[in-house]
């Protein structure tokens, strides 16, 4: 083909942007572990408030989506890994569907592809920041001041501080993108996005379960941890019944119902993740070397769940900002309407429109009751359908499809027992395709139902994603541990039990 490829257009930009160099030699086990942990710690430390924004008074519109993307409202992690994840999915799908012409065997093409992803990620972060800033998202509503009308005092930041917010968010997003790239380029274990999601969802879960810190709310001091709050209620409140009910139903912070929904979802997912189909394989060179190649039911792991929520998060950010900026336009209300939650003034809740039907945002009293009855079903259906379709297509796009596995087998002189070589990819395909789609179907269904039943504000979904991600990262660590014989050379060998 003689025309200019889209990929080549990125060439002039590629040299401007920072890039992580590929490691000269294969990193050793310990080093990788240190890189991974350090990156995760730096990521968590980034959660500092933005200059000019009081993150305690920012009204959060995307709380139910955040847990899955390791983001915190009003801080430098406002978007979390969303820009990185979204641009990765976007271009991977484009390349998989042949919309973008990439030759993954050539190293220069691979490099350009990475630059394209990075550039998109940085641009997305910039666009999101601009949209939210001009939608007035970062104008804190000071609910302690009752002077203004309706008891809401909107503090309008100056243009300069608005620009400052945009710059801060863009820079922090660039840092996150580069850190993800660092981990992706085999300096660390797993993929960068998954690592960050794992550490952050684990932190969120633990904090909302047994977090000891207290927060000042309109009802006085409340513990962040649901269990801690429960125990405190038992000692301090006048009636036990009230204490128990309060711990299970409080709305401003995590309650015990949400925790139990999340734990239930995790138990289900762990069971599913251990279901696998075992292909017996043997080496064609060495005799009597038979072994087993497992194909897991959850072949794609957490990726379909992340994809579905990244689409939702993207639509919500765009929808929210557009409805705020063009608030006079009637048609935009069809996309979604957001309303300030009246009691605590901490969240904007979706109350209507198209996005409401596919959301799991906390419910509001002003919603049409019919819509709120329909919503759990439409939301579950949306999540399940999108995840399943994606799960079916993902192995093909990410280079783990039947053909690739068969090729890998051939390179290592492995054959399936009782099967002919020629048909191998077809045979494996018969197992992988149902596995990836059924697996995504099952995970999405479990996560979505727990999300709906517990009214979890994203806790169930995020925890499920985190657990699935941690399982896949752990698997990589263990296989590296066993294969490279790191057990002998590693400094950590005394801490890790060897089996």
């Amino acid at each position: 083909m003689s025309g200019i490829r889209l990929l080549d257009l990125i060439k002039p930009f590629a040299s401007i942007f920072l890039e992580v160099e590929l490691p000269y030699e294969k990193s050793i086990f310990d080093e990788k572990l240190v890189y991974t942990v350090a990156a995760a710690i730096i990521y968590l430390l980034l959660g500092l408030p933005i200059n000019g924004v009081n993150d305690e008074n920012v009204v959060d519109a995307f709380g139910w989506l955040r847990n899955c993307f390791a983001s915190t409202p009003g801080t430098l992690l406002e978007f979390g890994v969303l820009p990185v994840a979204f641009s990765a999915f976007l271009w991977q799908i484009a390349a998989g569907d042949k919309l973008l012409d990439v030759d993954f065997t050539s190293s220069s093409d691979r490099k350009l592809f990475q630059s394209l992803q990075k550039l998109t990620s940085i641009l997305l972060g910039f666009v999101f920041a601009v949209l939210l800033v001009f939608a007035g998202y970062f104008q804190p509503i000071d609910y302690f001041t009752s002077a203004a009308e309706n008891g809401e005092l909107l503090v309008e930041p100056s243009l300069f501080s608005k620009l400052l917010i945009v710059v801060e968010l863009t820079v922090s997003n660039t840092i996150i993108t580069l850190m993800a790239e660092l981990l992706d380029k085999h300096y660390g274990f797993g993929s960068g996005i998954i690592d960050f999601i794992v550490i952050s969802s684990a932190t969120t879960f633990t904090t909302s379960f047994i977090g000891l810190t207290t927060q000042v709310t309109s009802r006085g001091f409340e513990s962040t941890g649901a269990l801690v709050q429960f125990v405190k209620n038992m000692f301090s409140s006048k009636s036990y019944a009230y204490g128990i009910v309060e711990a299970f139903t409080r709305q401003n912070l995590t309650n015990l119902t949400q925790i139990y929904a999340a734990i239930f979802a995790v138990c289900l997912i762990v069971y599913l993740s251990n279901c696998r189909y075992e292909i017996s394989i043997k080496s064609s060179k060495v005799r009597s070397m038979a072994s087993i190649y497992p194909i897991k039911l959850l072949y794609c792991g957490a990726v379909p769940l992340i994809f579905t929520y990244s689409v939702l998060y993207f639509c919500n950010i765009i929808g929210f900002s557009l409805t705020r900026i063009f608030s006079s336009n009637k048609y935009l209300a069809l996309i979604g309407t957001w309303e300030l939650e009246p009691e605590f003034k901490k969240t904007y809740n979706l109350t209507g429109g198209l996005l409401y039907l596919i959301s799991a945002s906390p419910s509001c009293s002003s919603t049409n009751p019919l819509l709120s009855l329909v919503r759990p079903f439409t939301y579950t259906a949306f999540v399940v359908v999108v995840s399943t379709l994606f799960g079916k297509a993902w192995p093909h796009m990410s280079g783990s499809s039947a053909k690739d596995v068969a090729k890998q087998f051939k390179e290592q002189d492995i054959t399936m027992v009782g099967r002919r070589d020629v048909l191998m990819s077809k045979e494996i395909g018969k197992i992988i395709v149902p596995a990836s789609s059924a697996g995504s179907f099952a995970t999405a269904l479990a996560a979505a139902i727990c999300e709906c039943c517990g009214g979890s504000k994203g806790l169930s979904y995020g925890t499920v994603t985190g657990v699935l991600g941690s399982l896949s990262v752990l698997e990589e660590i263990v296989s590296e541990w066993q294969q490279t014989g790191a057990a002998g050379s590693s400094q950590l060998s005394q801490f890790i039990p060897t089996q």
Binding site: L44, T203, T206, V270, C275, Y277, S437, F441
Partner: protein, 66 residues
Amino acid sequence: MAGKGKLTDAPVEFVKEGVQFVRKCRKPTQKEYAQLIRAVGMGFVMMGIVGYLIKLIHIPIRYLIV
């Protein structure tokens, strides 16, 4: 009629394949499962505690910069 058949074909096929696959799967035994849940739960909460401790560092930093 043909259109209707096509529309339902894909989901039916999907369910059939999925069920078949799950039947053939090796599922964890109860003992394995209990072990697994314990390991995953412990690991996840441990990771969370480390994360929580790191987040606690935020409190003094916030006092310094705000």
